[in-house]
């Protein structure tokens, strides 16, 4: 029961925050609404028993990404461009398209009966145990490529279940590459001559 109340509370905060981001014209307020919304998402993660993920969400998103965005706001919000307003027509058009999209999504999802879908499960892979909190250790092992939570056996042989060693490693390469790129772009440029394009490199 408590969980229900908490869910409705945070769900309202998530949706409200997201709507706030859309509706607000002021970029600083948008950042505030975004923090609210994403923070509440992390609360929902906790409710779903994904404690590590919830923490990561708070740390990386609220603590990292959004702060990055706020930096961006501060660096770019100067002078007359502080408020760049969306015209009413654009807003209306966006609302229409968004409404249609929402209709499509909800009409598909709401008809689903997930429990019925998965009781018919007869695939070789066993239903994994559903994470109910305390996911730090299984997640860590999964990143190393080990899945004790999801043993797959064929006869007497033990086969490795999908482990995530490769993406875990390769994503670090990705981060490296991306940060190099971001640093390059954000570095002070040498040809500070935006009005005069020269094609010769």
């Amino acid at each position: 029961m408590t969980a229900d109340v908490l869910f409705w509370l945070f769900a309202a905060l998530v949706c409200g925050g997201a709507l706030g981001v859309v509706v607000t014209q002021n970029i600083v307020r948008m950042a505030f609404w975004l923090i609210l919304s994403l923070g509440s998402v992390s609360a929902l993660f906790f409710l779903l028993g994904a404690d590590f993920l919830g923490a990561a969400q708070l740390l990386i998103y609220v603590g990292g990404t959004v702060v990055l965005l706020v930096f961006g706001v501060m660096l770019t919000a100067s002078g007359p461009y502080m408020q760049i307003k969306t015209s009413a027509a654009d807003g209306l058009l966006g609302a229409c398209v968004g409404g249609l999209l929402f209709l499509v999504l909800v009409s598909s999802i709401s008809g689903m009966d997930w429990s019925q879908l998965h009781t018919t499960n007869t695939t070789p892979s066993v239903i994994a145990e559903r994470p109910e909190g305390n996911t730090l250790r299984p997640l860590g092992l999964a990143f190393l490529g080990l899945r004790p939570d999801r043993p797959v056996t064929e006869g007497s042989e033990v086969k490795p279940a999908p482990g995530y060693l490769l993406p875990f490693e390769i994503v670090s390469v990705h981060l490296l590459v991306v940060l190099v790129g971001a640093a390059y772009l954000a570095r002070a440029k040498r040809r500070a001559n935006p009005s005069n394009d020269s094609l010769s490199a």
Binding site: D90, L93, G94, V97, L101, V104
Partner: protein
């Protein structure tokens, strides 16, 4: 070396020389062996193609020598009964040479293989399908090679004179007006012109030498590219670049059909080759012709009478049905028709047949040598050549289609030519009309007749184009016939060589005179070949009881008259009569020998190449390599009852058809003479130039008195006898008929230009406009792009959702 190898080597040399020439010429300036004012590139081009001609000619002679000249003399024709007897038992596979090509294996009446074939190089292999460079040499190939290289040599020589304006650093193009009253000036492009000509010769020869349909397609496209380059030679002129584009578009439309035909062939027959080969491991791969026609040239159709269900059994070169396990290999009859129509669509585009004929008159924007080479004698002939080469693959329904397309084309084009006043346009329409004759000939089963006309037409049409080029050059680029007249005095060689061409195309003959010598009427080449076509058409329409098919005979017959009419009209307006424009006349002059010499040579051939008619060497040579022997009649009952006549049927009606055609030609000539030389029924002209006509006649024409006595005087006497009444009747009748013809032609021209051209232009413009309007979607606004993602998801989902079966 055996005969096949020698022939292959000679023809390959003739084929590749122009390519070498092209490479040298296009970079003549870059490679610094020539400069812009030098004629060296042209000399190189002439040398290449001239050497090619010598190679081809020696190949032809070698072949004749090796085969004891059997192909050059008439063969005793079978009676149908004999043909039937021979049907199954004759060792007809002896008609085919050893599969690797070259080795004669014939046991037939003569010890000569019908053709030599082989593979240059294997490009690729997709499972059972090989893509190869093949060669295929029969007498048709040899004749085409010799004809193309010969005409090309003449035209190269002529062009050296015609294009000499380009030998300059600053060529001023008088037809391009820049703002400020100046003309556009650019460096001359003499070397480039000859480079393009060489490339064209290479492509055309490759097309003729090709041993599989895919290779034909490749060179087909190359020929199209060359044509594009040459038509658009004066690229700065808007009309020239438009015409180049138009030619390319029209051709591509046809090529699309060609491509579909190719795909059907590859998917259902699995080979592109014309001939059979034995692979290294001894397996026999049957070529297209044997697959469809077996060894006896007949389609092996299932008995099922419905066209949608009947199939053609595929056979090997021994006439056995091919099997795939136990089921016989077949191709649906309908699919065969579709493939045939597809390939013929390519011919329609290239040979400017109805309804794709409009590009050819516009293509006259190119320099006149180009018109002569590309758009009269050779490139447009490629379509006819393909139809002839591919003849064994055409079931009777397709042939009927070919015949009707040819029939429509020849009539439409001829009527338009009647009202044209641009000298090159008249010739262009005449080309279309003659190509229609060829197609008609092939369609009604006169395979050899159609190709016969192809060769003779090539000679006299290139002659006439060169003569018109000579006129144009002599009159300082004046092309309007109404401003000419009397030019035969200024340029006699041009005029009389042209006259030979005109007589040849008109099909005039003096019956009875030559019979003793040749067994045929004394006539120039065009008479013989047109005669053969008309005879085939008559046989076709007689054998087919469907009254509609009579059109196929009547229309060409009438058009023979119209042809004579407009050709003589052209000649009379240009060379005879009184100068219409003193300025033009004053400045007109005969051209130097380098331009007139080719005219003379060509006129000899135009006059004499077909001596002997259907018993002459040229016709015999062509019919020697007929892949589908039309010894017996062939009857198809699938779609409609169609009977393809045999040689004998055509021979039976030859006298009738020839007589009628001759009559029509004389009628046309007479009318032209009356209208444009005598101008008896043109009251306006008579009123305007009343006295002048008589002076002109008395002074200038040698035979004037004769004509005067024979036609004019009686006319006048009768007129005075009838005291104006009869004259008025005659006047009204003739005038009305002339007016009706002109109105009809104009209407057709309007249709042609308004509808067909308009449609093409509409498509072109609307494509560009549509493309431009698509730019509006690309607003450059990021937010709209993102909006499209959402819209795209919703629309895609909605569309798929509604399409999903419930």
């Amino acid at each position: 070396m055996d005969t096949g190898t020698v022939l292959r080597n000679l023809l390959t040399l003739a084929w590749l020389l122009p390519l070498a020439g092209f490479v040298a010429e296009i970079y003549a300036l870059q490679l610094r062996w020539s400069h812009r004012l030098s004629k060296a590139p042209a000399q190189l081009a002439v040398a290449c193609i001239g050497a090619g001609f010598l190679c081809s000619l020696s190949a032809l002679l070698y072949w004749g020598n090796e085969t004891k000249w059997v192909g050059f003399a008439p063969v005793e024709h079978h009676t149908p009964a004999e043909g039937l007897d021979g049907g199954d038992t004759a060792p007809a596979d002896a008609l085919r040479p050893d599969a690797t090509g070259g080795e004669p294996a014939s046991e037939h009446h003569h010890q000569t293989p019908k053709f030599y074939a082989g593979t240059f190089y294997k490009l690729a292999q997709f499972g059972p399908l090989e893509i190869t460079l093949d060669w295929y040499i029969d007498s048709l190939t040899l004749v085409m090679f010799t004809m193309v290289t010969f005409i090309a040599t003449c035209i190269h020589l002529f062009a050296m004179g015609y294009m000499k304006d380009e030998l300059t650093e600053e060529y001023e193009d008088h037809q391009v007006h820049l703002p400020g009253g100046h003309h556009f000036t650019r460096p001359g492009r003499f070397h480039r012109f000859f480079a393009f000509l060489s490339l064209f010769c290479f492509s055309m020869l490759g097309l003729v030498l090709a041993g599989n349909i895919f290779q034909v397609f490749i060179f087909w496209e190359l020929v199209g590219v060359c044509s594009y380059l040459l038509i658009g030679f004066y690229v700065e002129r808007h009309s020239a670049s438009t015409a180049a584009n138009k030619a390319f578009i029209m051709n591509r439309v046809g090529d699309f059909g060609f491509l579909i035909g190719l795909m059907i062939l590859i998917t259902s027959l699995g080979t592109f080759r014309f001939f059979d080969v034995t692979t290294a491991d001894g397996a026999e791969q049957t070529g297209l012709f044997s697959l469809v026609r077996g060894d006896d040239g007949k389609l092996d159709i299932s008995d099922d009478p419905s066209v949608t269900k009947s199939v053609v059994y595929l056979r090997d070169s021994h006439g056995h049905r091919l099997v795939d396990g136990t089921t016989p290999r077949t191709i649906s009859y309908l699919l065969l028709i579709a493939a045939g129509l597809g390939v013929f669509a390519g011919s329609i585009g290239k040979s400017a047949q109805f309804p794709l004929q409009t590009w050819l008159p516009d293509a006259m924007e190119g320099p006149t040598p180009v018109s002569a080479l590309v758009h009269s004698a050779t490139m447009v002939a490629a379509g006819v050549y393909l139809a002839g080469r591919f003849y064994p693959m055409f079931p009777p329904e397709v042939l009927l289609g070919i015949a009707y397309i040819g029939c429509i084309t020849l009539f439409v084009a001829a009527t338009i030519a009647v009202v044209a006043t641009d000298i090159k346009k008249v010739l262009a329409y005449s080309t279309i009309s003659q190509l229609g004759y060829m197609m008609l000939g092939i369609g009604v089963g006169g395979w050899a007749a159609g190709l016969f006309h192809l060769v003779t037409h090539a000679f006299f049409k290139s002659l006439m184009f060169l003569a018109s080029g000579s006129v144009i050059a002599g009159c300082h680029h004046e092309q309007d016939m109404r401003k000419m007249g009397g030019l035969r005095h200024k340029m006699p060689i041009t005029a009389y060589t042209m006259l030979i061409g005109v007589i040849a195309i008109a099909g005039l003959a003096i019956p009875g005179v030559g019979n003793a010598l040749f067994g045929q009427a004394l006539a120039f080449s065009g008479y013989h070949s047109k005669d053969a076509i008309v005879a085939s058409a008559l046989a076709f329409s007689e054998l087919n009881r469907n009254p509609l098919h009579n059109i196929l005979f009547i229309v060409p017959l009438v058009t023979a008259g119209i042809t004579a009419f407009y050709m003589f009209r052209l000649w009379f307006m240009t060379f005879a009569g009184q100068p219409q424009d003193e300025h033009v006349y004053e400045h007109a002059h005969e051209n130097p020998a380098i331009m007139t010499a080719p005219l003379v040579i060509l006129s000899l051939l135009a006059a004499g190449c077909a001596i002997g008619g259907e018993d002459g060497w040229l016709y015999c040579l062509l019919s020697f390599s007929e892949t589908v022997p039309t010894v017996d009649r062939f009857t198809s009952e699938r779609v409609a009852s169609i009977v393809i006549p045999s040689h004998l049927d055509a021979r039976d009606v030859h006298g009738t058809a020839g007589g009628l055609a001759l009559l029509a030609a004389f009628a046309g000539t007479t009318v032209a003479y009356l209208l444009y030389c005598r101008k008896v029924v043109n009251p306006d002209d008579i009123r305007r130039q009343a006295g002048g006509v008589y002076d002109f006649l008395v002074d200038k024409w040698r035979f004037d008195t004769l004509y005067d006595v024979a036609f004019v005087r009686p006319c006048h006497i009768v007129a005075s006898w009838c005291q104006g009444f009869d004259q008025k009747v005659l006047d009204v009748v003739l005038h009305a008929s002339a007016a009706i013809t002109i109105v009809v032609s104009k209407w057709e021209r309007t249709f042609d230009e308004g509808m067909v051209d308009g449609l093409v232009n509409l498509i072109g413009n609307s494509t560009t406009n549509f493309g431009r309007s698509l730019r509006v979607v690309q607003t450059g606004r990021l937010r709209q792009y993102v909006m499209w993602i959402a819209v795209g998801v919703v629309v895609l989902f909605a569309a798929l959702f509604t399409a999903l079966p419930k």
